[in-house]
Symmetry: C2
């Protein structure tokens, strides 16, 4: 199961829409990310995921790998957390995109689309409970099985 | 200059304080990050960095590599941005830490310390201006030369 997350994204050959622009990706990466757990959600296909998680959305589970479990000590004190996760199915080479939702072309950094050089999502979630290595939360928007990369206390801007 | 960011963190042998706990890191990483630019700040040593950037802090420059520049189209419309960056000098193996500031032991995921399995920082910044491939902002807290990994429009929780 874990191995599946190491596969190449399955949509690098998705069509580019008119107005979108791709660049050549660098020959190699500059740093390595560890997947520290995974996220269980009700959404099994990209098309089913909400555009943005909400605090009245379904309860999802953040399951932390055994190796990192001790890092959860004290997390239960925070009503909200910031979660970083790796959008493993998103292509990484588009610098200009035309979101389906509004059809206007925009630079990748002016969008929160999963398609970006480093497909890292950041969401603020409401904590339901913390039991063992699992945090149940509301406010996520990602595919079932999405790799977890960080958990931080939420700090309002 | 760019090459320097690929060096190993220089403090993996920092002393562990009493109450802190390290784990063995995984044998390999699960995904690769591209450094897409770098951040210029006034802080040349970790000890000089503020604990948290503030909107009355100094102006810092986010310089995006040529390859990704087109992704900035439309960014100037946002007064605040979320910036993700790679804290390249932080060790990654501590699951329990004792912050100098308050001296209480805590799980890594209950802290926003740079020391974490994936040393990715997330800050909300106020945009001063966008000129060419450079965004000048206030609200950062990192070392001069810190690798940039993402820029997103800020979306209040």
């Amino acid at each position: 199961m874990k191995r599946a997350f190491r596969l190449q994204p399955n949509n690098m050959n998705d069509d580019i829409r008119p107005g979108e622009e791709a660049v050549d990706l660098p020959a190699g990466s500059d740093a390595g990310v560890y997947f520290i757990g995974r996220i269980r959600t009700p959404w099994l296909k990209r098309a089913d995921c909400p555009k943005r998680g909400t605090s009245d959305g379904p309860v999802c589970a953040i399951v932390v790998d055994e190796r990192w479990c001790q890092g959860l000590e004290g997390v239960e004190a925070f009503p909200r957390l910031q979660i970083l996760y790796w959008m493993h199915q998103a292509r990484r080479d588009l610098v200009r995109q035309v979101p389906r939702s509004h059809g206007r072309a925009s630079g990748t950094f002016a969008l929160r689309s999963p398609v970006r050089p480093n497909p890292i999502a950041s969401s603020i979630v409401d904590v339901v409970d913390v039991v063992g290595n699992t945090i149940r939360v509301r406010g996520l928007d990602c595919l079932d099985g999405t790799p977890l990369i960080d958990i931080k206390p939420y700090r309002p801007a």
